[in-house]
């Protein structure tokens, strides 16, 4: 410290507080200003230049050319049908293949295993951790994202100049046909997607018709085996599927999509039927045995009567075409009398 001149005041001692704050304020403005102009207003969704977008767009034309995605952002339909589609969710992949667009899918997530052909496509990563670099390198002309993808990541992809369309997770089965139709509209396959959507609607209505005037609604508990008593709450679309299949979800009152159920509650609620979501028969059997061995489960009607059934976890947990199969199976198991005999 001997290097310091005697009586030296520290650098800040010479600094008058009154001019420090204005300088800092200016500095703040200087850093914020470019922020606002250069990246604050970059549209998250890329609108291709080729799409006609004159200022006074007639209302009719607009509805034909510009649609909004489920985040409410405008998306201009490209002139040509997209050739390289990246799907960021397994249910989107399943819908694309069901429409017959399998050949145009350029990339899928590592969870996209259905239909089996999807497994051979380039992987972009997972649902919450897709790799932006890989997506960009695939040079997609359409990226279909889902609400399950982190929003910030989806926006980041949009800012790279890729056209991103974000779809919401449906609240019930009635949202499935419109979802299919929307994917048809953005991929330029309106007709085929419309037919597919109409087919789904027909099957859903057929179940409704078959169940008209049922005498009882069995209490249903859906169990996601492997993590304790995880089940689908009232906000889940599976809750709606159970309702349409002529049952009542015992966890319907829980205001969540998925929730951990308490053992005491399942004994009190006493479900008539238990569906175990599982990936394989071995999985299902392990889950059924675990349930049977759970303390107090002997008091549960479903366990006593043996009405514990397997449900394909992937089909039931993806808001895609196979959800209608889940509805058919569930309805047939809950009301065998309406669907011709014993399940």
């Amino acid at each position: 410290m001997s290097r310091l001149p005697a009586g030296r005041r520290g650098a800040i001692g010479d600094m008058c507080p009154w001019y420090v704050s204005p300088i800092l304020l200016l500095f703040l403005l200087a850093t914020i200003a470019p922020g606002v102009s250069s990246w604050g207003h970059v549209p998250a969704v890329h609108v291709p230049n080729a799409a006609p977008a004159p200022a006074p767009v007639p209302v009719v034309d607009r509805s034909a050319q510009v649609i909004t995605d489920d985040l409410g952002r405008p998306f201009a339909r490209p002139d040509r049908a997209p050739e390289r589609i990246v799907s960021m969710a397994p249910n989107v992949t399943e819908i694309l293949f069901a429409i017959g667009l399998g050949g145009r899918v350029a990339g899928v997530t590592r969870f996209c295993d259905y239909p089996p052909e999807a497994r051979r496509l380039p992987r972009i990563g997972g649902l919450v951790d897709p790799n932006i670099e890989i997506i960009r390198s695939l040079e997609p002309d359409l990226v279909i994202a889902f609400r399950g993808n982190p929003l910030r990541l989806v926006e980041r992809i949009g800012r790279l100049g890729l056209p991103v369309f974000v779809l919401d997770i449906g609240e019930g089965l009635e949202d499935l046909p419109p979802l299919v139709a929307r994917i048809g509209r953005i991929t330029g396959t309106d007709v085929r997607a419309g037919e597919l959507a109409a087919g789904f609607r027909g099957r859903i209505e057929a179940v409704d018709a078959a169940l008209k005037g049922i005498a009882s609604r069995p209490k249903v508990f859906v169990m996601l085996y492997g993590q304790g008593l995880w089940t689908c709450g009232g906000e889940s679309y599976l809750d709606d599927v159970i309702e349409r299949a002529g049952g009542t979800n015992v966890a319907s009152a829980l205001p969540k999509k998925w929730a951990l159920y308490k053992r005491e509650r399942i004994i009190r609620d006493d479900p008539d039927v238990v569906f175990i979501l599982s990936r394989s028969t071995a999985d299902f059997e392990a889950g059924r045995d675990w349930l049977a061995g759970m303390a107090g489960s002997g008091a549960v009607s479903a366990v006593r009567s043996g009405r514990v059934y397997e449900l394909d976890e992937d089909a039931a947990s993806r808001f895609g075409p196979r959800l209608v199969d889940v509805l058919d199976r569930m309805a047939a198991l809950l009301h065998p009398e309406r669907f011709g005999g014993e399940p």
Binding site: M1, G10, W39, E133, P150, L153, R159
Partner: protein
Amino acid sequence: MSRKTARRIFWAACFLLCLAGFLVSLLSGPVRTTPGDLIRFIGSPDPVRSAIFLDLRLARAVLAFLVGAALALSGAVLQGYFRNPMADPFVVGVSSGASLGAVVATALGFEAAAFGFSGPGLLAFVSGLGIVSLVYALSLRRGGFKVETILLTGIAAGALASALTSFFLFMRSDSYDQAVFWLLGSFQLAEWGQAATIAPWVALCLVASVWLARDMDLLALGDEAAQALGCPVRRVRKAFLAMSALLAALAVAVSGVIGFVGLVVPHWVRILIGPAHRTLFLASALAGGTFLLYCDLLARNLLAAELPIGVITAAVGAPFFLYLLHKKR
């Protein structure tokens, strides 16, 4: 080996490692690229390579470097401030406060981006600074200014913020994956905008801390001694605390909470080139940036899926730190 030589070697190694780190960052990633690709790209840019090299890899490397520099500088300042080798940006509650803000924003769906930050980033920044101001105000209330009081208040406030964070995570299990980003840190979504937002502040704080470094040297003698030697202790303390809080809050706002950098890097530097604060601040910033650059390289290339960077910083930093500590003692 004289201290001077050691210092020269240290600076040269840091610069070389830093340059090499940037180069490797540009060349490595899930999409295979060779040095030839990079040279061809510089010759004739195309949109895909431009997006991969510049918008994704370079922006990410630059942001990682800046955040590393900010955290290490913040840690170096706080260790001097508290005269305590355990101090880091977590100690005054900045990190816990900022992660609370981010998690609350995520849980409430507050997503509006502003000033180059995302919604949660903005709230993280504000609550990180807010908690430090609160800690500071509370410490002042107990008559006079005591370093021990601010340290303990900070730890208590940080614990409270962590508890609230866990509560919000528990209530909104849907937003869990986004919360992991805030709690363990990631540069996956790095953008030029974020780098441009924090760069001027990091530079400003670096310049200011180097300018005030002698006062920090005086503080090491104790507040009374420093005051007697002409250091305006209270103002210097205030400036340093504000700077370290600002740096840590900025870092958390763009990349989530990344531990260990602020704690360990200043120690490395002190062990290698000595405790004088002027060089310590400069060298900590450079070494911290370089360290985080390499950690991010590991985070994105080690496994097929991205690892949270907080996992890497601790896993790589701790053993190296132990080695240096025991070699020198």
